[in-house]
């Protein structure tokens, strides 16, 4: 990746997205500018309806932009024809929130994982070899290939979804709430797997979550979204530790902590913020 070394990998510039057309159009992103460098995790926090998932879907080309620009590795990708978008699939991948509906229930894991490889023109034997590698990488047993998604727990399914995202050696993975459907201990393991993969392969993450603690754990930098705009952006330590924007402060104070004394302090802080 020679050209990537210089600038950021992903840049959105005053990105706007609207749902619906004409007079009924409803804008959900009002000019969002963020960037993700190679090997970096940009955490994106916000409440439901803040537009964080829409930003991810726009980067993936699943929803069209109504204004602004998205560029990847220096090239504009805001409006790509279908064929070019498919070539970009090698570089930009996704892990969705719900591991139950993100794997086709009618297909064996083998077929799910092989699909992107075959679509990019790999030979069947090579694809099978790669599938074995991928499963090994996400610590799933080799006999996974012959089974269906429903035979696995949420955490295991999310590992399979991560394997699918890794299949083409992407440079950026959009992680849309990848652990919010998982149990606490599973959550931690999946996050640590994502971090380990990043440290080994240098993949960048756009990591979307509503959970400050999760974002703090995986992100180098954090952007806070509120009603379709970025209200705060900075290093993870600062944004999740000493927030500056009033919304981030409220979000921070509302975040529950598993410590009765600390939680009661947070509660008082939140009430004093709300009272203002």
């Amino acid at each position: 990746m020679p050209e990537a070394a210089a600038g950021p990998l992903l840049v959105t510039d005053e990105l706007r997205v609207a749902y619906g057309r004409g007079r009924k159009a409803h804008e959900v992103l009002h000019g969002v500018s963020v960037s993700v460098g190679p090997g970096e995790t940009l955490g994106l926090v916000g409440e439901s309806g803040s537009g964080k998932t829409t930003l991810g879907r726009a980067v993936l080309g699943l929803v069209p932009a109504s204004g602004g620009r998205i560029s990847f590795a220096g090239e504009e990708i805001t409006q790509l024809p279908a064929r070019k978008r498919r070539i970009l699939a090698k570089d930009v991948q996704v892990v969705f929130q719900d591991p139950y509906s993100s794997l086709n229930p009618a297909m064996k894991i083998q077929d799910i994982l092989r699909e992107p490889l075959l679509a990019q023109g790999l030979r069947r034997a090579d694809a099978n070899e790669r599938v074995r590698e991928l499963l090994d990488r996400v610590a799933m047993p080799a006999d996974t290939v012959d089974r269906y998604a429903r035979e696995f727990s949420g955490g295991q399914r999310q590992r399979i979804a991560i394997a699918r995202a890794l299949a083409l050696n992407p440079r950026l993975i959009v992680c849309d709430e990848p652990v919010s459907a998982l149990d606490l201990s599973t959550q931690r393991r999946v996050l640590d797997l994502l971090i380990e993969i990043q440290e080994r392969s240098g993949v960048a993450y756009l990591f979307i979550s509503h959970d400050l603690a999760v974002v703090r754990h995986v992100s180098h930098r954090v952007a806070v979204m509120y009603q379709g705009e970025i209200v705060e952006l900075g290093p993870a330590r600062q944004v999740t530790g000493q927030p500056r924007h009033s919304y981030t402060k409220r979000l921070w104070a509302a975040n529950l902590v598993a410590d009765p004394q600390e939680q009661s302090r947070r509660r008082d802080l939140r009430r004093s913020l709300d009272a203002v």
Binding site: M1, A5, P38, G39, T41, E47, L60, G61, A82, R85, R86, I87, K90, Q93, V94, F96, Q97, D98, S101, S102, L103, N104, P105, A106, M107, E115, P116, A119, Q120, Y148, E151, A161, R164, L168, D183, L184, Q187, L191, E199, S201, G202, V203, D211, A213, R216, H217, S219, P235, A236, R237, G241, R250, L251, N255, L256, A258, D259, P260, Q261, R267
Partner: protein
């Protein structure tokens, strides 16, 4: 035809089980045998028919069965009925095949394209198929007969085109559903071309309903073809079931038995298609064969003993056990003792709640934490008497305010629900009925519990809405659930739960589906309501933050057992059990944030 469509194939791993379900259904097996026999006869007919189907032996005109070489007798012109029946099989099979294939090819393709690509494809496709639907089929076929003459195959193909909407509409709807699934998005991100996504992901998922529709249509095709032939719109030189029926009908006073043979063939084959379609649908929906109470009782008794059967079916005691007086002083409000709940399936029995015991005192907030599958929710549902039908209460007892809930008739338990104990669910939206206003649902619940008049109940509901922090109670009262947010919906449900001043509130992950800021507000609300009403509260959650915020005491549950119990401060500071330690260790709260990026190139090198 769209009514009762089976769900989009959700669990294809269960394919083998589905085949087994079909093979266990005697009607389905009989249908399959008849249909296979029909296909075999259609193929090898010319070699097995005992006589040429059009050969006339005048002496056997209207001969009864078993006369001469005619096993089923002769018809009104002295031809062998059995041979003609065999010869007609091919025509019937062809009719079914042509009509179904043409209809499916057009309807499924059109439905997939319209449903997946939407926009212009959808408007155009819907218009075309709506026009097709409006065409009067039989009239067109009769008109066609005057143009192309007696060509049953052309007629069936035309009818196939006219039947295509039967596939188009359901396939379009199912495709739109599947189109919204994340795995289709994932396939798009994987760089798959659209035709491949439609072919692999969409069609593979919706093929079940298509096969079932095809079975129904094939049955209908054979009847329609017979009807046309009966009307004389067939080729008289080729033997057909409909034509034979027509001949026999002319002859009904001379030899009525002749009606039986073609009628039987038609009836059996069409019924087989329909029954097979039904069996396929039942198997794909996993419709369980419903057991009577006696069968269920016998099964539970065999597996878990008589007590389990009594507890599960509430047959132990017919007596009302609600005490008139209060419980003995000092007794806890809720006491669960050795509660065991199991499920039984083809894969064996699974104990989901394994002899747990717990207490909630008046005015105390107890948290029940654990990961999914630990059995927390099952314990709450057992208390409420709202376990799913398949659940089996193996043993234990649940005491609420001096009354034993498990050995209480359902009628008495229903009186306690809402009045003495109330419930706040996890998914506020799915716990409100979308077809009624918020207010009417609240009023209904209040009246059922208190017997208040409508006006009084309305006043109470409005004051409760105000109490739970809804800014414009009157407006919200008249709203339908889809018009309010998730946080509001949870406030509404809490209002309903505490309206009748229950003494015990059971909350199952009450804030899990809400945003953090809304979660904090709802927890505040629960805390203040609990203090105000001095309620006992049992909160099921997987979130230690919720426990830290709200609870006095915490129980850690794992695989159906309570592994640790204690005051909140002690359990957080000094967890005893390994599992509690591990859970608390997984919390990310005090994790060190990541520092600067380690450049990827360095890591690679």
């Amino acid at each position: 035809m769209t009514a009762g469509l089976p769900e989009v194939a959700a669990a294809p791993g269960a394919r083998r089980r589905r085949v087994a379900t079909i093979l266990r259904n005697p009607l389905a097996v009989a249908s399959l045998v008849i249909l296979i026999a029909m296909i075999v006869v259609a193929v090898i007919g010319p070699w097995i028919q005992p006589n040429p189907p059009n050969a006339v032996q005048l002496q056997l005109t209207n001969a009864p069965p078993f006369t001469g070489g005619y096993l089923l007798g002769g018809d009104n012109t002295g031809r062998d009925i059995l041979s003609r029946l065999i010869a007609g099989t091919r025509g019937a099979a062809e009719a079914a095949l042509i009509l179904t294939v043409v209809a499916a090819a057009l309807g499924v393709t059109g439905g997939l394209v319209a449903g997946y690509f939407g926009k212009l494809f959808d408007s155009f496709g819907s218009w075309v198929f709506a026009v097709l639907m409006a065409c009067p089929g039989i009239v067109i076929l009769i008109a066609l007969y005057t143009v192309v003459g007696a060509s049953p195959n052309v007629a069936m193909a035309v009818l196939g085109v006219l039947s295509a909407p039967g596939f188009f509409w359901p396939v379009r709807t199912l495709t739109r559903t599947v189109r919204a699934e994340l795995y289709v998005d994932a396939a798009r991100v994987s760089g798959l071309p659209a035709w491949r996504i439609v072919g692999r992901h969409v069609f593979l998922t919706i093929r079940g309903p298509v096969i079932i529709l095809a079975a129904f249509l094939a049955g209908a095709a054979i009847s329609v073809q017979a009807a046309l032939q009966f009307l004389g719109l067939g080729n008289p030189a080729v033997p057909s079931w409909g034509g034979m029926l027509s001949d026999a009908f002319d002859n009904v006073y001379v030899a009525p038995v002749q009606l039986v043979w073609p009628g039987l063939a038609l009836g059996l084959v069409t019924a087989s298609f329909v029954l097979l379609g039904n069996a396929l649908r039942d198997a794909s929906q996993g419709t369980a064969v419903r057991q009577g109470t006696h069968g269920r009782r016998r099964e539970i008794k065999a597996l878990f003993g008589a007590q389990a059967a009594d507890l599960t079916l509430r047959t132990g005691s017919r007596r009302t056990t609600v005490p008139r007086k209060a419980a003995e002083p000092g007794a806890p409000l809720l006491r669960i003792d050795g509660l065991t709940v199991a499920y039984h399936s083809d894969n064996g029995a699974a104990t989901v709640v394994d002899g747990i015991s717990l207490e909630v005192a008046e005015g105390e907030v107890v948290g029940l934490v654990g990961e999914s599958g630990a059995g927390k929710t099952q314990a709450v549902f057992a208390t409420l008497g709202l376990l799913p039908e398949e659940a089996i209460v193996v043993g234990g007892s649940i005491w609420l305010d001096g009354a034993e809930l498990l050995r209480m008739p359902e009628k008495d338990l229903a009186r306690l629900r809402g009045a003495t104990m109330a419930y706040v669910p996890q998914e506020p939206m799915s716990n409100l009925d979308p077809s009624f206003t918020v207010g009417s649902q609240l009023v209904y619940g209040i009246r059922a519990q208190t017997g208040m008049r409508a006006g009084q109940a309305r006043e109470l509901a409005l004051s409760m809405l105000d109490r739970v922090g809804i800014t414009d109670p009157v407006r919200t009262f008249g709203c339908y659930p889809h018009q309010i947010s998730g946080g509001m919906a949870q406030r509404v449900l809490i209002a309903g739960a505490v309206a009748c001043k229950p003494r015990l509130l059971l909350a199952d992950e009450p804030t899990t589906s809400l945003d953090v800021t809304i979660q904090a507000e709802i927890l505040d609300l629960l805390r203040s309501l609990q203090k105000e009403g001095h309620m006992g509260m049992l909160i099921v959650t997987h979130n230690f933050g919720v426990v830290a915020d709200l609870c006095d005491r915490v129980l850690v549950m794992r695989s159906g057992k309570i592994v640790e119990e204690g005051p909140v401060t002690r359990v957080f500071r000094d967890p005893q059990h390994d599992y509690s330690k591990r859970l608390l260790g997984s919390i990310l709260d005090d994790a060190e944030p990541r520092g600067a990026v380690v450049p990827a190139e360095v890591a690679d090198a």
